[in-house]
């Protein structure tokens, strides 16, 4: 546990000693601000009661964009620089190593989402806010982020170039968020159609947005995270049996 915390702390530290975290934070804050102002304008023009939901919907898209930047260096860099050797010859289990990377990325995600609570405070002054639904929405954001970051971590473990890992992660993330849009392009009888609809992250997220924690969605998202963390651990371990 102590080693896990030490690893996680260092991992977070790396984000903040490099300009990476600040760039991601700034861009995320800027874009989310734009989105917030945009949705508020629409509410003002349409005279409809204000709601935080459209902003949350946009935040999912922004998380997709961050997934590559946040995860691409996690393991690829250690492989390239050779630091993997000093870490994995210390008494640390491969699982603790992988989990610390993932935890650090999720903590960064929480940092990203924290400022958006400011929007919530602003909005609450102009109309009633369903805090339960908003809380569900944030849970959904964390879950979707968890899925994307665990996949990114897995890809980072496979690649020894950060850039390759980043590009691949972004491709997969975009695919996952648009799967449902792509589904109708396929033939009516294609077995892929229901699968695409099922894995689509925005579809999975939309229930949370309504303030419903659907157990099947929850289990699905959590098991995807667990699955990719498991795969990542196996990839890290594979140096032993290759």
């Amino acid at each position: 546990m102590k080693t896990f915390l030490a690893l996680t702390r260092r991992e977070l530290g790396v984000y903040f000693v490099s300009p990476m975290a600040y760039i991601i934070l700034t861009v995320f804050l800027y874009l989310s601000g734009l989105v917030f102002v945009g949705t508020m304008k629409e509410f003002a023009e349409s005279q409809l009661p204000v709601s935080f939901q459209p902003t949350l919907q946009w935040l999912v898209m922004l998380i997709v964009l961050t997934s590559a930047l946040v995860t691409m260096r996690l393991i690829a860099e250690e492989k390239k620089q050779g630091t993997l050797e000093i870490i994995l010859t210390a008494p640390i289990s491969d699982a603790a190593f992988v989990l610390s990377k993932f935890t650090a990325s999720i903590i960064l995600l929480i940092y990203l989402l924290l400022p958006t609570i400011g929007y919530l405070i602003i909005i609450s002054r102009y109309g009633p806010v369903d805090f339960g639904a908003v809380l569900c929405g944030y849970l959904g954001l964390l879950l979707v982020g968890g899925v994307l970051y665990s996949i990114g971590l897995f890809i980072s473990a496979l690649c020894s170039s950060q850039i390759t890992a980043g590009v691949l992660t972004l491709m997969v993330a975009v695919l996952l968020i648009m799967a449902n849009i792509m589904a109708p392009q396929l033939a009516e009888t294609s077995p892929l159609r229901p699968i695409l609809a099922y894995v689509d992250l925005s579809v999975n997220f939309s229930d949370f947005l309504k303030g419903v924690v659907d157990r099947t969605r929850l289990v699905f998202l959590l098991s995807v995270v667990a699955f990719f963390l498991f795969l990542t651990t196996r990839v890290v371990e594979s140096r032993r049996w290759r």
Binding site: A6, L7, R10, P91, R240
Partner: protein, 315 residues
Amino acid sequence: MIDVSNLTKTYPGVAAVDDLSFQVGKGEIVGFLGPNGAGKSTTMRILTCFIAPTSGSAKLAGFDVVEQSMQVRRRVGYLPESNALYTEMRVEEYLLFRARLRDLSAADRASRVGEALEKVRLTDRRRSIIAHLSKGLRQRVGIADAILHRPEIIILDEPTIGLDPTQVREVRELIRGLGEAHTVLFSSHILSEVEKICGRVLILSKGKLAASGTPEEIANRLMKTGNVRLEVRGEGRKIKETLESVAGVARILWSSKGDMNTYVVEPKDGLDLRPALVRACTSGGWEIYELGYERVSLEEAFSILTAGPEKGGTP
């Protein structure tokens, strides 16, 4: 302390380590010698549990590297060849982080880091960012990390590579000092270095153990090429003929200045011909002015052992 038996590691098409067996006792400083690609790093990576062997076993401090990897890792300090460090950290911060990974108690951490820094003489650079340090200083950070938790066994992969002569000497002194309290296995492809520090040398060639012993033992075993140099006063040709009749002589080179003759006698099959040659000279009534024995240096032994003809190599 280190017990390796029949260790083999194969990569597709190549055996990086081939049926390697050796032991290292407690408190020994053992040098691992071999040209690049001999399998030194691979062996060390197996011993430090970074990779697993294809077959065979290795035990460190009584623990198996595959079955009891965590116990082994706790007892081993390792400096990899790449000496990769988290360069964005400060020296002391990095070592404290490493101490935490090694599960040292909070009370111990600061004192152990201080101790390690003192040993590698980096105390005045403790606040420096590792990225700003020279290669030699980084190497010392790596060594400090390897000794931080007072491991029973220290494994150093090419600790002096890329250092300037002064730094090499310093690191050498440091390793010699480590031998007092730890078992040290270190690799090098430079002979003089190993010769100066190690009690024992293991010479590796193409993944196999080519020789093991003290530098002298290895050289002695290769005495095949140990020529005898004789300076004898007398009738040159006659002496040469007499010497040639001594059993075991392969070839004699003769030069003379007046009645002083110099002979270089090349023996057959690693025989030590000195007593026989002296007897031959004295029975002929000639006086010997000098008797020299051309010992094989470890340097020569090394090249003989490792540069042998390619056997069954695949293109």
